[in-house]
Symmetry: C2
Subunit: 319 residues, 2 copies
C-alpha cells in the first residue's frame, strides 16, 4: 500500500482555531474548527488535538499519515522560531508543538504568521497558483501582508517580513497608528482607516456621515460611495493613493509576478480597482507598471491552506 | 590531482570591464581590466576573452578549471534572462555568453544587475559575510541596491528587485527623477540629490554655496558640513530623513539581518551615520528598530566578487 502524505493547517484566531486536512496536492479533504482556548496548558492543547482527531475521523484517515502540521498565528514568527510578541492570543509554542507531535508522531510542526500563511495559501491553491513570487496584501480591520519569493515566504529575521501595514508612507501624519508609529499605510488603507478618512471628509464638507456599525465598517462607506456619496469617494481615493504608492514601492524592493489582495475590503474591489491601478501605475518604476493586481480567491480558508503548505515545505526540507 | 574550481567575475562598466579570478572560498587570485568595447560582435567579445586569458596566465591557471563566469551589468536582468533595457553600454548577451563559454568550456555564464552583484559580493566576502539576508544600498551618483534573502539575490520578474533608488517617497515632489518619476529616493539621497538639496538650502538662506566640481560633487558638501556650513547640514538631514524612512519601509517588506551601505557617499558615513540611525529608528516598525546599518567593505571590487559568486551559485544549482 502506498504511503499517504497528509498535512493539517490550523488557523489560530482570537475566537476559533480553524482546521483543514489536505493531501500533498493541495486538495482539501476536510474542515473543522474549535473555540480558541488559552494555548498554554494540557487542557488547551487537548482541545486542539481532539479537534484534529475528529477531523481525521470524519475523513477516515489515520494520525500516522499526517506528515506536517502548520499553525497560522496572529503574531510575528522570527527566524529563530521563538515567539516573543503576542497580541490577541495566549500561546506556548513549544508546549503546543510537543502536544501536536505526540498526537501525530510522523508530523513536523511549523508556525507561521497568519498573513504570511494566507499568502502561501493563495500561492498553493488560490489566485497565486500560477506564480512563484507574489505579494499578498490583506485589507481588513488592519492591513497585513506576505511576501513570497521563489515559492517561499520571506518571514524575516524578527518576523517583520511582509508587515505591509506599517510602511511609513507619510512622515507628516500627526495621528498615531495602532502600533505607535505615524503615517503608516494601515492608517489610510485599512477598514478603520477608510472609516476615519470618510468621517474627516464629511466633517470638512459639513455633511452628516451615513450610519456606521462601528469604527471599521468600511462596507457602509463603500455602499455610500455606490449611492454617490462624494465624501465616501474621497476616502476611497485616499486609500487608493496610499495603497497604489505602497505597492509601487514594494515592486522596487522585491518585484513580484503579481500582487494579490485579500481581506474584507477586497470584496469591494469592483468599486476601487480601477482607481487603485491608476494610482499604482502613476507611482510605479516604469518597468514594473504592468505588474497585475489580483483578488485573492480562498477567502477565510487562505490561512488553513497556507499553514498546511508551509508544513509541507518544512517536511520536504527536512527529508 | 584534485579538480580545481575557479570562478571569474566581470564588472562591466561604461569605461572598463573589471575582472577578478576567485577560488570557491571567495579568495581573490588575480585582478585585471580592459577598456569596455561595444559588446556586440566578435571584436568586442575577443577583447574580453583576451583579458580573461591574460588574467588566467598571470595566475598560472587553466581555462579548463573555470566553472563559472559572472557578469555584473548596469541594467535590469529579468527572470527570463532576456536583457531589454540598456543605458550606458552596448551588449549582446547571448553572443557574449557564447564567446565566454567557448573560451572557458567548463564554465556556466550568468548575468546579474551590477548593484545586485555588489550586494552578493558583500555577502560572500565583505561586510555581509556573517549574514544570510541583507539589503545593500549603493549611494553614488544615483542610488541603487540589492536585496538578499536566504543567501540569494532577489532579482525580480522584470529585474526591478532592489531598485531602491526609485522608491516613491514623496508624492508631492514636483521635480523629476532621472527615470521620469517624481519624489524618488534617488532625488534626495544620491550625490546629485545632496548637491541639489544643498543649493536649494543655500538659495533659501541667501548664502553662496561652496565651489562644487559638477552636479554630483557631494564630497564638497560633506566637506562644507565639516566646516560648519548650515546649508550643507540641512542637505545631509534631508538625505538622512528620506534614506532612514526608506530603510524602515524596506525592513517592513523583507526584514533583513542588516543594511549595508556602499558607493562614494558611504565614505562620509562618519558625518551622517548618527543622523541616519536616528531617522531609521524614528520611522521603523518597533521590532525592526535595532536592525544594524553597516558600511560596505569591498569598495569598487564588490562587483567582481559578486559576479563570481552568482556564477558559483549558478554552477552549484546546475550540478
Amino acid at each position: 500500500m502506498a504511503e499517504k502524505h497528509l498535512f493539517i493547517g490550523l488557523d489560530v484566531g482570537g475566537t476559533s482555531v480553524k482546521m483543514g486536512l489536505f493531501d500533498k496536492g493541495g486538495e482539501l479533504l476536510g474542515k473543522g474548527s474549535v473555540p480558541t482556548p488559552p494555548l498554554i496548558d494540557a487542557d488547551g492543547y487537548h482541545a486542539v488535538t481532539d479537534g484534529i482527531a475528529a477531523l481525521l475521523a470524519a475523513a477516515s484517515e489515520s494520525a500516522d499519515n499526517v506528515n506536517g502540521i502548520g499553525l497560522a498565528i496572529p503574531c510575528p514568527v522570527p527566524a529563530d522560531g521563538v515567539i516573543r510578541m503576542q497580541a490577541n492570543i495566549q500561546i506556548n509554542a513549544p508546549g503546543l508543538a510537543d502536544a501536536l507531535e505526540r498526537a501525530c508522531p510522523a508530523a513536523a510542526v511549523k508556525f507561521e504568521n497568519d498573513a504570511n500563511a494566507a499568502a502561501m495559501g493563495e500561492l498553493w491553491a488560490g489566485s497565486g497558483k500560477d506564480y512563484q513570487s507574489l505579494v499578498f496584501v490583506t485589507l481588513g480591520t488592519g492591513v497585513g501582508g506576505g511576501v513570497v519569493v521563489d515559492g517561499h515566504v520571506v518571514g524575516g529575521v524578527v518576523g517583520a517580513g511582509g508587515e505591509i501595514g506599517h510602511l511609513c508612507m507619510n512622515s507628516d501624519e500627526e495621528r498615531t497608528c495602532g502600533c505607535g508609529g505615524k503615517g503608516h499605510l494601515e492608517q489610510y488603507a485599512s477598514a478603520t482607516g477608510i472609516v476615519a478618512s470618510y468621517k474627516a471628509e464629511c466633517e470638512q464638507r459639513g455633511l452628516e456621515p451615513v450610519e456606521l456599525e462601528g469604527p471599521s465598517d468600511s462596507r457602509s462607506v463603500f455602499a455610500a460611495a455606490s449611492a454617490g456619496d462624494e465624501a465616501a469617494w474621497a476616502a476611497i481615493d485616499t486609500m487608493c493613493d496610499y495603497l497604489g504608492r505602497a505597492l509601487a514601492i514594494i515592486a522596487c524592493v522585491v518585484d513580484p509576478q503579481a500582487f494579490v489582495l485579500g481581506g474584507g475590503t477586497s470584496n469591494s474591489s469592483n468599486l476601487f480597482m480601477e482607481r487603485l491601478l491608476a494610482s499604482y501605475r502613476r507611482y510605479a518604476f516604469a518597468v514594473s507598471a504592468d505588474t497585475p493586481i489580483e483578488i485573492a480567491s480562498l477567502g477565510n480558508d487562505a490561512g488553513i491552506y497556507g499553514a498546511a503548505f508551509v508544513a509541507l515545505q518544512a517536511a520536504e526540507d527536512a527529508a
